[in-house]
């Protein structure tokens, strides 16, 4: 079932909440919703590109050097994304900083290459990448919404919570990133445990 390849990454195998991969950018780029969406888009682009290229050349790569080959493919795509972002959205590029080039060492991209794209055809790999990309962007969006709303009372730069609400600045700072992520992970664990108890 091809459609399963698309949907599994969104909830069932969500790269951040279920597989616990790619935690570094999920804390650093979620101080505002704009940053989180930008990071999600850049990440999804790299993931789709790398899954396409790797599934196309998977029979040509010698087994002993497959990891270095994957890294070269991924690093080239990241360089492309860096140049595009620097040219068209320089403000976003500056806000994300070192985390755009660091998509190279994002465990999800290498993980999908190793676990999926090197064993499956192009179409399945594209669907897998889109699903994982949406799942990761969704996870970033959830964390960023909490942080931006609590930390500044805004969403995407628009004022949502008005006068009586005092923004808790700490949610925009690094400490707030850890605490938000801890609470969101606890929520996910609670829902999963309750789901398991219902089914079992």
């Amino acid at each position: 079932m091809l459609i399963n390849e698309l949907t599994k990454g969104i909830i069932k195998d969500n790269p951040l909440f279920v597989q616990l991969l790619g935690t570094c950018p999920s804390l650093a780029t979620t101080s505002s919703l704009t940053n989180a969406l930008g990071m999600g888009a850049a990440f999804t682009f790299v993931l789709i590109g790398s899954n396409i290229v790797i599934s196309l050349i998977r029979k040509l790569i010698p087994d002993q050097v497959h990891i270095p080959c994957y890294i070269v493919v991924i690093a080239s795509l990241v360089t492309v994304v860096e140049m595009i972002m620097n040219a068209y959205v320089p403000a976003l590029y500056a806000a994300l900083g070192v985390f755009v080039p660091l998509i190279v060492v994002n465990c999800i991209v290498l993980g999908r290459a190793e676990a999926f794209a090197c064993k499956n055809g192009v179409v399945a790999s594209i669907l897998d990448a889109i699903g994982m990309g949406i799942g990761y962007t969704l996870a970033l969006t959830i964390i960023a919404s909490f942080r931006e709303l609590l930390g500044s009372g805004k969403l995407l730069g628009h004022q949502i919570l008005g006068a009586p609400f005092t923004p808790a600045l700490i949610f925009i700072l690094p400490a707030g990133a850890f605490i938000t992520m801890g609470c969101v992970f606890a929520m996910v664990a609670y829902l999963r445990q309750r789901g398991a108890a219902h089914n079992g």
Partner: protein, 191 residues
């Protein structure tokens, strides 16, 4: 604080690599379950980070700048680091088997540790000289070691505490890290 000491101090406390910059989190959460593993990982990271900083500085200023290829830095740095880790592993296996036994399992993981590549890129972005880059990498590895060792001690005790089942393992660890990060925020006024 532009002095070399200032760079080290700020890398350890003010912009701590894990608690303020979020680099190297995978290893921070992954191998901090007990003190021994955390110590092995931080030793391996510190060692590779210093070598990688020097190597990347050399590659950037010796190879990329003269040929105007600065835009290739990400690609070249990750290849340089991957090759370096491979060489270090081969060298250790042959001439320092005891050290290799202690550090060996962590070395392959380091290629994809974003702290190493991150520091190499930050050194270039900030235009640090060779001495400043080395100071930054030493300070960063001290900060990394401090954070991961303290964190592993706390986590060893957390295992025995009572808490709601949904908070176990990762959520409580992240909230603990948040308090460590708040503690370091007190340093941010020092200039």
């Amino acid at each position: 604080m532009d002095s070399t000491f200032g760079i080290i101090f700020s890398a350890v406390f003010i912009s701590n690599i894990i608690l303020a910059q979020f680099l190297g989190l995978c290893s921070f959460l992954g191998v901090s379950k007990n003190f021994k593993n955390a110590f092995g990982m931080s030793a391996a990271v510190s060692f590779v980070m210093l070598l990688a900083t020097i190597l990347c500085y050399g590659v950037y200023h010796g190879l990329l700048v003269p040929y105007h290829l600065e835009y290739l830095q990400t690609l070249v740095f990750i290849l340089a680091i991957a090759a370096l880790v491979q060489l270090v592993e081969m060298f250790m296996k042959k001439s320092m088997p005891a050290l290799h036994k202690a550090m060996g399992v962590y070395l392959p993981l380091i290629t994809t540790n974003c702290a190493i590549l991150g520091i190499a890129l930050i050194n270039v972005t900030k235009n640090y000289s060779l001495i400043d880059s080395i100071a930054n990498s030493i300070g960063t590895s001290l900060g990394y070691t401090m954070a991961i060792l303290l964190f592993s001690c706390i986590r060893e005790r957390l295992d025995e505490d009572q808490m709601p089942p949904c908070m176990r393992v990762l959520p409580i660890a992240l909230i603990t890290a948040s308090f460590m990060s708040i503690a370091l925020m007190g340093m941010s006024g020092i200039h």
